[in-house]
């Protein structure tokens, strides 16, 4: 099997696209900007969903489901939301088709025009807060801790598989609280859940922080984000959690009687991650041979490939392979024994590398003699021979090691590509020539942020939560600043 990917040093964007297609993760569909998520890609998404869903439930949330469509007028209710939110939406105007009078195909029935257009949800704050209005009367009805797994649509002009698509899959949490403090606590809880998920499951080190006012979610008082660094030095926003204050409660007239018997507006949060996480996962770890998947999210953790010339050899190998498969499965490891005779071992090796299977075992006639197995790690591409005895414990330990190693490698990369800049010249030089996260002082104004963006395409990714106080001067205006913020070019 020849190399099927463009080298990532050669053309990173092409490498990414090749990888998504060739590893059977997703492809473009017949509908502009919408993707087909293929079974292998969807299996990874299912793992992500399952782990996150467990984390949401462990923090007290329940799932529910709200309508796909939102009446157009709902968007006008919260002033910042309608102003700030992109108006590129799919608009449903009619509800019936009819046969074309010329007998060729079907046309829209103009008699079936909706009185009010419906928008395919780009996010669900409006329809959900319109619903919460009927659920909340008293502090006893609070908090409401709900999450929704759903598809959303934002009419993007330039799309890239997983990273930016017109339709995408996501979860959106929408919570309602009696106090400001409780809502802020929830906002932070969820950005920490996302951070923990990124680190422990995706093997992805992230920076946690707040967004600058101009990058805030439309309608939020404060937006928190986790930001990851991709191998091309660009940042990727991997999850957000918003403190919405009383904005949506005011817009949708959601009031409650508090413990003191007084009427007050309800406090809100919302938080979400999407199939964009797939893009982050792919870009953060993979190489020119294909995907590198952290074992905890790999749909298939171990593959066993037989190497043989004659049928009697295969029979012995298969018996051994099934025995190993069983002992690995007993440890909770997902294993496939690939004895297809339609492909050569070399082709299989390359294909499983492309698909990022963390551990590959090969068994040949000599292994049968010696009761051994050849093991290859996807992350380091190292090969070695091991005794079959104790293989279950060995592979269990190795999968943990691989998970750890992938994380450490990504962490090292992030550290190596995080810079401090104290002058604007230095800043521009790093952004233009090296990429990565750049820590710099900023005067806190939208004007400066805008100038930097226009000059360099870099934006403020976040104001770090764990950033230490440090007096300095804005790299552009020289005005005083009390903390460095993280700049980067971003996806």
């Amino acid at each position: 099997m020849a190399k099927v990917l463009t080298g990532k040093e050669e053309n990173y964007a092409q490498w990414y696209n090749d990888l998504v297609i060739k590893a059977d993760l997703a492809e473009n569909s017949a509908v502009r900007g919408c993707m087909v998520i293929k079974p292998y890609g969807y299996a990874i998404w299912e793992k992500i969903q399952s782990v996150l869903d467990g984390m949401f439930k462990a923090t007290g949330h329940s799932n529910a489901y709200f309508p796909l469509f939102i009446p157009k007028s709902f968007f006008s209710r919260e002033a910042d939301h309608v102003e700030g939110f992109a108006k590129e939406c799919a608009v449903v105007t009619h509800y019936r088709l009819k046969n074309s009078p010329d007998g060729k195909g079907i046309i829209v029935d103009e008699d079936a025009k909706l009185e009010e257009e419906l928008i395919v949800r780009p996010t669900s704050e409006t329809i959900i807060w319109n619903t919460y209005k009927n659920w909340i009367q008293s502090y006893r009805d609070l908090p409401i801790l709900i999450n929704q797994w759903a598809n959303v649509v934002r009419w993007e002009m330039r799309t890239r598989l997983f990273l930016r698509t017109t339709e995408f899959l996501w979860q959106e949490g929408h919570t309602a609280h009696a106090t400001r403090e409780e809502a802020i606590e929830e906002t932070l809880r969820m950005i920490n859940v996302y951070g923990e998920f990124a680190q422990k499951w995706m093997a992805l080190p992230v920076e946690k922080g707040t967004k600058s006012p101009s990058e805030r979610f439309a309608g939020a008082i404060e937006s928190y984000a986790i930001e990851a660094l991709m191998q091309d030095g660009k940042a990727l926003q991997a999850g957000t959690s918003h403190f919405l204050g009383q904005n949506f409660a005011k817009a949708f007239d959601v009031m409650f009687t508090n413990k003191e018997g007084k009427l007050d507006h309800v406090w809100a949060t919302s938080w979400g991650v999407s199939t964009r996480l797939m893009g982050a996962l792919i870009m953060a770890h993979s190489d020119n041979n294909g995907l590198v998947l952290p074992p905890k999210l790999a749909p298939l953790q171990v593959v066993i490939v037989p190497i043989y010339k004659k049928q009697p050899e295969l029979e012995k190998i298969s018996a051994k392979a099934e025995q190993i498969k069983k002992s690995l499965e007993e440890k909770g490891i997902s294993v496939k024994y690939d004895d297809r005779d339609t492909h050569k071992p070399g082709w299989k090796f390359a294909d499983y590398e492309l698909k990022g299977v963390p551990v590959r075992l090969a068994i040949g006639p000599r292994d049968i003699e010696n009761n051994t197995v050849e093991l290859a790690r996807r992350d380091t591409l190292e090969k070695d021979t091991y005794p079959v005895a104790g293989i279950g414990d060995m592979v269990t330990g190795l999968l943990e090691k691989i998970q750890e190693n992938i994380y450490r490698k990504a962490l090292k990369f992030k550290e190596k590509n995080t810079f401090k800049a104290d002058t604007y010249e230095e800043f521009c030089d790093i952004i233009n020539n090296r990429g990565g996260f750049v820590l710099a002082h900023w005067d806190g104004t939208a004007e400066t942020e805008e100038k930097i963006k226009n000059d360099t395409k870099a934006t403020i990714r976040c104001i770090p939560l764990n950033g230490k106080e440090e007096k300095g001067k804005c790299i552009v205006t020289g005005k005083p600043s009390s903390q460095r913020v993280i700049f980067a070019r971003a996806y």
Copy 2:
């Protein structure tokens, strides 16, 4: 807590609607015909999803995801599909909103009109077969065994929560095969999966059979269905599996090279169940006190309620309750200890009855003295006192008994309400005055079926798969018939 439901004998439709609302399962949304599935209702749907998903995977299927939107022209490709399929669809015509010139709200941007309208999927055969075209060249690429969990939209004029809504959630399997035989085998496999799920998990006895030609899915060669009987004597189609022949492959030009090296069109199936199953589950078993849930699908299987007057009593009761909770959880039972002091025990009892929790335990001061617990079964409403010792095993066994009992009750109801009719007079009398399934001879023509429907509102639910050969005469025309078919009024 006063009775909150309309009696089902009084007004069955109102009883159902009350139950869905009062048990917190779902409610109507601000968008015509679209429902909000509330956390408790969604928790049941999640259980249904999880079990079915496991059954699909065990039969070799993988999940994937295809676009929400389908280009309008795709619907015209398969002639029967466009003719037979309802044209009541949500049509997306524009992709942008803009601020209204009068400054009030937002309007549709007429400059952002789509060249070709997009239809929100009412079902995905067309977009999926357009995709499969690129995936299939040779018999080696077959079979393709894919399922999708998704939302779909059909613009219904009269909607009822879960039973018929404009947007609903479902799964749709779409498989591609090299031979006719294999596709038929798959179609049958999946209707059997649905039948097994209905029986073992939903405690719902169903009739399996084929649809008459006029009730077939648009584009299918043969449609199989499972049909359940509700307590008002009406039938409910709970799942369908379609053998699509080569119709969609021909419409979308999907050909493959078979083992003999010849080009042929691919054979197809599709199969699905939806949130309509929730309606079936609710209507089949519930009573005037509320939901009756089969333990295997109950989000909460056991609730423990303390009964006390003074605080020291509560402390002792709580210690005992936590001990019982732990021993039940160790058996894999989901348990809640409800020690809220905001509601009286009587209110809680009624509320958990309304929500269909299978087993309720109450612990009072006397139970502490005797080391006992009062147990109430939701299905029979029987109460009795049991020793705490061995409670884990006792409740495990009881949950199985309840599951079994709910099924037996539904089966008995179905048997009692399945009739044979040998004359049209008898037939009309049963349909009009008793309801239920009516087994009758039919001459096999659409005209007779239509006449019966016009006269009685009854339709052929299915031609039973396990129906025995029996020579007879059509109840309307007297023409010969070789098997009885099942008629009923239906949801």
